[in-house]
């Protein structure tokens, strides 16, 4: 209930005018070294010395703590030399030894000091006066006068040419750092255009459509082999398997459906034999929508749980994403491998200011970008 740790010897209420417990000017040279042998001298209100028995006990206990800290500190140094790292097991042992020793050393040191404060140092209940933070009227007046006088002396107030040219001179220098930041960004400025295109729209060097390859192995996908309904693959563009900038827009999920499962939202012209490719990059804030529930055909983004119906053009059925995952037009090449026949009709990934309603444009143009 109470917050006061110590009882107070003063009578209630009134402010003591004396600052008790602060050293008298005469004691300036004796700020240090208030030793135990002088405990009797500490006859200051608000300072209650510990009794000698408690202090003795405290000294022993604190000394024990400090000794433990010493040993643990040495243990830390020894552990550093004794335990090497280099594999998981060794690192684990080294971490335990170093961390354990450090913990013990620090906590023992802390405990020792607490014992010191509580059992050896006096109990304090000192009172100091507060003064209003504001300076007195005289000081304020003096400052105000001096300020005006200084301003007048400097001539800044009555010499407008000086003042205005100084301000003008500062302006470009203030802007200079901002100008310098220009090259943080790329040399081009048509950012929206970059965001609208992915590498799927680029032909390969020999002028063919780009193959879909399995993420991780880089193996191209033969449509005939990807034939079990409910199957799902994470797919990246051939030639860009390790290009993170390309992957951030072009990664796909490839899903195999039974033909009767596919609903009207899916563009059948862009599928091949029940195989549908959607952008894996969530249209909310760009996490990979990596979870797939086979029975319901739901694609779920683990970041914010936007849920898309893969059978129905990946339309949003739950969560904060506002748009379906874009579908990629795919077909097979003459060897039977899955390829992209064109880029996404709409920009994949999170929305941005200049994006506009790309979906509506596509609908107006009859399904083509």
């Amino acid at each position: 209930m109470t917050d006061s740790n110590h009882d107070i010897e003063q009578p209630d209420g009134r402010v003591p005018k004396r600052v008790i417990g602060t050293p008298s000017p005469a004691a300036d040279t004796a700020l240090l070294g208030t030793g135990e042998q002088h405990a009797g001298d500490l006859d200051v209100p608000g300072v209650t010395p510990q009794n000698e028995a408690t202090a003795k006990k405290g000294e022993k206990f604190a000394a024990l703590c400090f000794t433990i800290a010493l040993i643990a500190g040495i243990g830390f140094i020894v552990s550093y030399v004794a335990f090497q790292v280099g594999d998981i097991e060794k690192t684990k042992v080294s971490n335990l030894a170093l961390g354990g020793a450090l913990t013990v050393a620090l906590l023992a040191l802390a405990a020792g000091i607490v014992v010191w404060v509580r059992m050896i140092m006096p109990k304090y209940n000192l009172v100091q006066e507060r003064h209003p933070m504001a300076s007195d009227g005289q000081a304020r007046e003096y400052v105000a006068e001096t300020f005006l006088q200084g301003a007048a002396e400097s001539g800044i107030t009555k010499r407008p040419l000086l003042r205005r040219t100084l301000l003008l001179a500062a302006a470009p220098l203030g802007l200079a750092p901002l100008v310098l930041l220009r090259d943080l960004g790329p040399s081009y400025a048509d950012f929206p255009k970059k965001l609208r295109h992915t590498v799927w729209g680029e032909k390969t060097k020999d002028g063919k459509h780009r193959k879909l390859v399995v993420e991780g192995t880089g193996a191209p996908i033969r449509a005939a082999d990807f034939n079990s309904p409910g199957g799902i693959l994470s797919v990246v563009p051939e030639g860009y398997e390790h290009d993170l900038n390309a992957l951030a827009k072009a990664t796909l999920i490839l899903i195999k459906f039974r033909p009767e499962e596919i609903k009207s939202g899916t563009n059948l012209n862009w599928t091949h034999d029940g195989i549908v490719a959607y952008s894996k990059i969530c249209t909310h804030v760009g996490c990979p929508a990596a979870l797939y529930e086979q029975t319901t055909h739901h694609i779920l983004c683990p970041c914010h749980q936007s849920t898309f119906d893969a059978a129905d053009g990946a339309k949003v059925i739950f969560g904060p994403a506002a748009r379906p995952l874009p579908q990629l037009p795919i077909a097979v090449d003459n060897e039977g491998y899955l390829v992209a026949t064109a880029d996404f009709a709409v920009p994949p990934g999170p929305s941005f200011w200049e994006r506009g309603d790309a979906e509506a444009e596509v609908r107006e143009n009859g399904g083509h970008a």
Binding site: T2, A27, A30, D87, P186, L247, A290, Q305
Partner: protein, 545 residues
């Protein structure tokens, strides 16, 4: 107060310094500076000491970390990732973890200290808020504190993006998704931040210089200012016996407070070392290198970012397309509004309160939360708002753990985010009044003594005695919250100039509701059924209805 003479080495050093900078005058005034004592005053110190640990461990980490995104083939001693292509940043983070002695310990301590830093700041801010310790003259220090908290979040965000593992990349991707959603400037900010398209090869080195130089530099400067202001203005104290608005009661800086602070630093440091040793945190080697194509389910940010994650999850899928431009409200609102409400609300609160109460006087006695019920209710309301968002940031975990529908956690959350704070406000307000009543009862009737008396009429009553002096003084620290009245001081019924308009009327109304004495301590005693009958005058009885 003679206590022997100062030992020679100290005396000669100190006079050397004093001769040159006159340190004696400063020490004379400050060595015995009094610091009041209360457990809640220690919360901010946790943050302070965590910051020191962050500087120490962070400096160690910079000796080994390579903040570049160039690709390398991993060839360190962590077997499962050998031969895997990854960024140099991630490879060096693995190197710190497995090939530098004490590296893993320092990494884990750094991460734990960061969590403790933010957590310490949060509970400290709550303490200051609920006890009104931000009131004049401490508004500036409060603003510095709000700035520190904001910067700490930014520091955390730039920090956990550095190791470039799969989890940190997921956080970075969300950051990008939010940045690019901003109207007009979104694509510009994103392309400038990442030096081109996401993820590019620049962001780690840029975040690195922000994380180890710019932000900590500002943090350090602001923390120093925070400390200096606290020192100059002297700490607030809890109400109690002998404590007034014009004094400070407690222990002297030298030697008691100094030693206690030292011990507390060691405790904080030790606790962080304990966590860093035994509680694994951010095991980046399990996540693998970042690729925008993959993510692991259950990815969670550090706790202090959880409320943003929750608000993103909660938001319905609103997006506006006008004139060829897109406004992704489903990202903008959750990313900006909750943070805006909390931070702006914190920053403005002292000034709004001053405007409402018209109180321009200095306050050095901390208020007990019950004694300012509207403030406490507003605070708890905000905590509830934040807490619901924070919980919903883990709604997938909640759904999995309690076997409830994930979608329903979101639906429920969408309602709770509005209802929860309102209910919290009402309940807190009633609780504050109840606690005030119980204080008034203790002051007015004393406390139960355990002595049962039989009256001549045959009735039994329990004898009440006056409360303990310290407790009574603590309770009597209560002061009425100032109110501005709608009428002028001369009582002619005409409101002063500033109070006539609609804003003035609103202000008067708010002031009346906010301020005043809700339950006077020495007010009329509630209807007494059992009069005190006792040995002395102090004997009072209390009957609770």
């Amino acid at each position: 107060m003679s206590a022997g003479s100062v030992p020679k080495p100290i005396a000669s050093t100190s006079s050397f310094i004093d001769d040159r900078i006159g340190a004696g005058n400063f020490l004379k005034r400050n060595l015995r500076k009094v610091f009041p004592d209360h457990w809640s005053f220690l919360l901010g110190e946790i943050a302070l000491y965590s910051f020191i640990v962050l500087l120490l461990t962070g400096t160690f980490l910079t000796f080994f970390f390579k903040p570049t995104m160039g690709h390398v083939i991993y060839d360190g001693s962590y077997e499962p990732l050998k031969g895997v292509m990854m960024s140099e940043a991630y490879a060096s983070a693995l190197h710190i973890s497995f090939d530098v002695r004490g590296g893993l310990l320092m990494r884990q301590m750094h991460h734990w200290a960061a969590l403790l830093f933010v957590a310490g700041m949060m509970v400290h801010a709550l303490r200051v808020f609920f006890t009104g310790a931000y009131r004049k003259p401490r508004e500036l220090n409060w603003l510095i504190g709000v700035g520190l908290l904001t910067l700490a979040l930014l520091e955390g965000l730039t920090g956990y993006s550095l190791p470039d593992d799969l989890l940190s990349g997921a956080g970075l991707r969300i950051t990008e998704g939010v940045a690019i959603s901003l109207p007009l400037v979104g694509t510009w900010i994103t392309f400038f931040l990442f030096g081109g398209e996401y993820p590019g090869e620049d962001v780690v080195s840029r975040f690195y210089s922000l994380h180890i130089l710019l932000i900590p530099g500002i943090l350090l400067a602001l923390i120093t200012a925070h400390m200096i202001l606290m020192w100059v203005q002297k700490h607030t104290q809890m109400p109690g016996k002998g404590r007034t608005n014009n004094n400070v009661v407690g222990a002297p800086f030298y030697p008691a407070f100094m030693a206690k602070a030292g011990a507390y630093f060691m405790f904080t440091f030790g606790a962080i070392a304990l966590l860093g040793t035994f509680a694994q945190i951010n095991p980046i080697w399990l996540f693998g290198p970042y690729t925008p194509a993959d993510i692991s389910a259950g990815s969670q940010p550090d706790f202090y970012m959880g409320f943003l994650e929750g608000s993103l999850r909660l938001m319905p899928a609103w997006e506006i397309n006008v004139l060829g431009f897109t406004l992704p409200l489903s990202v903008l609102i959750p990313a900006l509004v909750p943070m805006g409400i909390v931070m702006t609300g914190l920053a403005l609160y002292p000034f709004i309160e001053q405007w409402v109460t018209g109180d321009r006087s200095e306050h050095h006695i901390a208020e007990r939360p019950r004694n300012n019920p509207h403030r406490t209710s507003i605070g708890i309301s905000a905590v509830t708002f934040y807490g619901i968002l924070w919980l919903l940031g883990a709604n997938d975990e909640i759904a999995a753990f309690f076997h409830v529908s994930l979608n329903w956690t979101t639906y429920v959350g969408r309602v709770l985010i509005f209802v929860g704070p309102a209910v919290a406000y009402f309940v807190t307000y009633r609780m504050c009044l109840g606690l005030q009543r119980s204080d008034a009862a203790v002051i007015g009737h004393g406390v139960e003594s355990g002595v049962i008396k039989r009256l001549p009429s045959g009735e039994y009553i329990e004898v009440h005695v006056p409360p303990n002096e310290a407790i009574e003084a603590h309770m009597r620290g209560k002061t009425a919250i100032p109110v501005i009245t709608g009428t002028s001081a001369d009582g002619d019924g005409i409101p002063p100039k500033g109070m006539r308009g609609p804003l003035g009327k609103l202000r008067a109304k708010l002031s009346k509701a906010y301020g005043g004495e809700k339950i006077p301590l020495d007010g009329e005693h509630p209807h007494e059924e059992h009069a005190a009958v006792g040995s002395g005058e102090d004997d009072k009885s209390l009957t609770r209805h």
